[in-house]
Symmetry: C2
Subunit: 367 residues, 2 copies
């Protein structure tokens, strides 16, 4: 068998609207299709570029909704047509990742897959590469490997990974004792103080076969359906098979279907990330990232002509309008052709409830 890294394939699940980033992020143009860092590239493109040193284009699969086929193809010049997996409808992370794993395993049985969300921000690409290389080596020993983020604060917005003993021979990898759900603030503080917990950023590296075996144990019906679709995927029966099976696929997060049961079975390891990571879940997070800790700055994303007088926060513009801000502290202004959001960093999380309210009041045209 060839070296683990030569059997390694990247999967980019590109889904999730990112409601807390409305009106920028929408059903028609979700978070991963936007430049949220001012890098000049979208998060999807940044993700691609980060993976290319690990897996050449032939070994990167993107899983996304049919609605995003055009945008994804446009943004990723290098993407091989056969490696774009279109979902008929969203079926949560297990279906997306397991289908990609099963398609790849059908093509090459001994692949090791890594799943990396299309909408996270990682700035130190070389450190990312180093971490993933270690994870691939550990995965090749028969483990499902996750990458854990060292907490910078007692966040209640992430799940945590309880780490165990160092894995013999590995550089930094440890056993995973268990995954824990998003905690309350007291628990989060204890987790962080203990030094034993890492944030779960939802990155998984594993032999495709091992991941599918685990799924077969916990979700046998879903596993069988996924295998049936994967078997037909590269042949003439794809459309018929998808049409017949897809709508009945169970929606379940891969954390529940694979990661937690596998941890309980003692076959999950974690490599602590050596890179800094951001999930840019809301506009306050984007503002923080943009300002790099500098207070009193106004971050600007987009092509707006801006005139700001003693204002701080973030301005995101998809219009060419002139935008004038005067005397606003920690403001969030998101200007799009058909919708405008004005709020403050302290209220950034409330954008999700606003989107719910828009749904409830029949404003789906702007969602």
């Amino acid at each position: 068998m060839s070296a683990p890294i030569d059997r390694f394939f990247s999967i980019i699940p590109a889904g999730g609207i990112g409601s807390r980033l409305w009106p920028l992020s929408r059903a028609a143009a979700p978070k991963f299709l936007h430049d949220l860092t001012g890098s000049g590239q979208t998060l999807l493109q940044d993700t691609w570029d980060r993976l290319i040193p690990l897996t050449p284009a032939e070994r990167i699969l993107v899983v996304t909704g049919e609605a995003h086929q055009e945008a994804v193809s446009e943004q990723l010049d290098g993407l091989i047509a056969a490696n774009l997996v279109l979902e008929k409808s969203p079926k949560d992370s297990t279906a997306a990742i397991a289908l990609a794993a099963a398609i790849l395993a059908k093509r090459e049985p001994d692949v090791i897959i890594g799943s990396f969300a299309a909408d996270h921000v990682i700035v130190e690409n070389s450190k990312f590469e180093k971490t993933v290389r270690e994870a691939v080596e550990v995965a090749a020993t028969g483990k499902i490997v996750t990458i854990g983020i060292t907490p910078t604060e007692p966040s209640v917005g992430f799940g945590y990974i309880k780490t165990g003993d160092r894995i013999e021979g590995a550089e930094t990898a440890r056993e995973v004792v268990k995954f824990v759900e998003k905690p309350n603030i007291d628990k989060a503080r204890r987790y962080v103080e203990s030094g034993k917990y890492l944030w779960n950023a939802g990155m998984f590296i594993a032999p495709a076969k091992l991941l599918l075996e685990q799924l077969a144990k916990t979700e046998p019906a879903l596993h069988a359906a996924i295998i049936e679709i994967a078997e037909a995927w590269d042949g003439p029966q794809r459309a018929e098979t998808v049409a017949r099976i897809w709508n009945n696929l169970k929606k379940v997060a891969i954390d529940y279907s694979v990661a937690e049961p596998a941890a309980a079975a003692g076959i999950v390891a974690v490599v602590p990330a050596s890179f800094s990571w951001h999930d840019v879940g809301d506009f306050a997070a984007i503002a923080e990232l943009q300002s790099q800790g500098r207070k009193g700055n106004l971050a600007v994303l987009g092509n707006a002509k801006v005139l700001a007088d003693s204002s701080s926060g973030i301005l995101v513009s998809e219009s060419n309008r002139l935008i004038a801000l005067i005397g606003l502290e920690d403001v969030i202004v998101v200007d799009t052709p058909d919708a405008l959001l004005v709020t403050t960093k302290a209220h950034a999380q409330k954008v999700k409830s606003l989107v719910d309210a828009l749904k409830a009041t029949g404003h789906s045209d702007v969602l």
Copy 2:
């Protein structure tokens, strides 16, 4: 001679951009062409409706810039074509009002004119009518009469009128001792406490001849030029005369050219307004007017679809965009097709400096 009120003509100077109301108010669409009260009418239309009970359409003159001919004609159905006086370029209030007075005096020598800005807000029209009727009676005795607003606070934004003795036989009119410029806050407090000062709202009622005589004394060259234009106005030489003279007209406010010298000469009276008056000079003033003193309200002007969560202040929209506001206190949001302003009521006055900055940076396309 007929009764004073039957010789009374209204002049509406419709000029002034209202920089502090940018980006709503612009060179191409100044303040008076907007609905700033939510009445469903523009300030110009409100002004017209307020004057109609005093002066039928045949006796209302509008003085405005050539650029606004179409908008003014559209907004004022009743305006007689011969009563629309178009200014070749803005020449301040003396030229506007004196020219209108001179044109009217040429048509009917004994007219009494009243000048009422197109961009003020007065809500109690019947009280306004009563006040003006008294002013017309006093003017007919050979006075230049102004209408004084009883101060509701020690404003530093208005000039003040120092009142003297009651005028014999008049219901409420008093002599004017002098006009004083916008004071500092200490002076403003003393003025208001004394009970002897009223705000100068720039409304003047006077026999046209008397006003022009006063101008002849203080600004003889300007007076002569105005008379020459007025003589030609209703004849075939208007265009030639305007073309020859207009650009050289001196720019001077009528307060300096007529009101102050006339007060010094003892021929100015004031009728205290029985109505409430607002100059809606900035968005904070509009927000105050809209909220009628209720705290925590969000006033909305325009057709925006608005979703507001615990926000107060004012939203002015000229777009059809959906606008979402979350957790903003005393905010000002002004949304127009090509420019967006976000600020707070506390910073409403700074909009003028912003407009100056836009001028300086070559953004005249949005001014």
